[in-house]
C-alpha cells in the first residue's frame, strides 16, 4: 500500500476477516452460554472507517450490560491504528484489551490483514472468562463433578 490509499473496500475486507473469527467465537460459545444472543455488527463513521464487533447479551436479563468484543481500525497521523477491546456496551467497562498496534503507511496488505485477524483471535481467546464473570454462568452451566 502506498500512503493513505486504504479504500472503503479494504476496510470491507478487514471486516470480513474479523467477522469470520467472531462467527467462530459465537459457535464456540453457544453450547456453554445458550441464553446469550450473539449479534455481529459493524460501525462506520466519518472518522472511524471500521469498528467490527460482536455483542453478547441475555435478553431475559436486560439489567446486565451487553458485552462488546470489537476491533477498531483507523488511519490517524500517518499511521494505521488497530485497537481491540472487550468492553461493556453502555458502561464502557474495560474487560480485556489487546495492546494497541500502529502500522506505517505502505504496510503490505497481508501484514495488515494478519494483524487484524490476530487481534480478533486474541479477543476470541479471552472472551469466555469475561462472559462467565459478567453473566455469572460459570457455576450453573458446568457439569457436576
Amino acid at each position: 500500500m502506498s500512503p493513505n490509499d486504504l479504500k472503503p473496500s479494504d476496510f470491507d475486507r478487514l471486516d470480513e476477516a474479523s467477522r469470520i473469527v467472531f462467527e467462530g467465537l459465537a459457535k464456540k460459545i453457544q453450547p456453554s452460554f445458550p441464553a446469550l444472543k450473539a449479534i455481529l455488527g459493524r460501525t462506520t463513521t466519518e472518522t472511524f472507517p471500521l469498528y467490527s464487533h460482536i455483542t453478547f447479551e441475555d435478553k431475559a436479563r436486560p439489567e446486565i450490560d451487553p458485552v462488546v468484543v470489537g476491533v477498531d481500525v483507523r488511519v490517524d497521523s500517518g499511521k494505521i491504528l488497530i485497537q481491540a477491546h472487550i468492553i461493556g456496551e453502555e458502561t464502557g467497562a474495560a474487560y480485556f484489551d489487546v495492546p494497541n498496534q500502529e502500522l506505517p503507511f505502505g504496510t503490505d496488505w497481508s501484514v495488515l490483514q494478519s494483524h487484524v485477524i490476530n487481534a480478533a483471535q486474541q479477543l476470541a481467546e479471552n472472551t469466555i472468562p469475561v462472559l462467565e464473570r459478567v453473566f455469572d454462568y460459570a457455576k450453573p452451566l458446568r457439569a457436576p463433578a
Binding site: 463513521t45 456496551e89 458502561t91 464502557g92 474495560a94
Partner: protein, 125 residues
C-alpha cells in the same frame, strides 16, 4: 436552578462503546419535553461519564447538526435531543428516534451522533 443552555461548541463525553445502540436514547428514560433531561445523556467531564479505567466516547458538539442540539444543565449533564424551530424538544421526533434503538440501519439522528465522535477515551485508573 439555572435553565439549561444550548452548547454551540466544545466536547462532551458519553460512557460506553461506539455502537449505534449506545448512541440512541431509550424510550423509557430519555423521552420527555424537559430540555437538558431529554435525549441522549452525556457529560462535560470524563469523570462524570464513566468509572475509572473504563471507556467513553468524546463527542464534538460542533459536529452535531440540526435538528440535534446539546442542552447543558448546571450540574454538567448534557442532553442531546432534537428540537423544533423555537428550541423546544421535538418529542415526536425524539420518540421516533428512541423507538429505533437497536434497529439496523441506525436512525439518521444516531448517525449524526456517531459522526460527531472524535475519540475513544479511557479514563485513567
Amino acid at each position: 436552578m439555572a435553565a439549561p443552555t444550548i452548547m454551540k461548541e466544545g466536547f462532551v463525553y458519553r460512557g460506553g462503546s461506539r455502537k449505534p445502540r449506545n448512541m440512541t436514547p431509550r424510550l423509557e428514560k430519555d423521552v420527555c419535553d424537559d430540555s437538558g433531561k431529554a435525549g441522549l445523556s452525556a457529560y462535560l467531564t470524563v469523570e462524570d461519564a464513566t468509572d475509572p479505567d473504563d471507556w467513553c466516547q468524546k463527542i464534538d458538539i460542533g459536529k452535531l447538526v440540526a435538528p440535534l442540539v446539546a442542552y447543558l444543565e448546571s450540574d454538567g449533564h448534557v442532553g442531546i435531543a432534537p428540537v423544533t424551530g423555537d428550541g423546544s424538544i421535538d418529542v415526536e421526533l425524539l420518540t421516533e428516534w428512541a423507538l429505533s434503538r437497536g434497529n439496523e440501519p441506525p436512525h439518521a439522528l444516531t448517525n449524526i451522533v456517531l459522526n460527531a465522535i472524535v475519540e475513544p477515551i479511557r479514563r485513567p485508573p
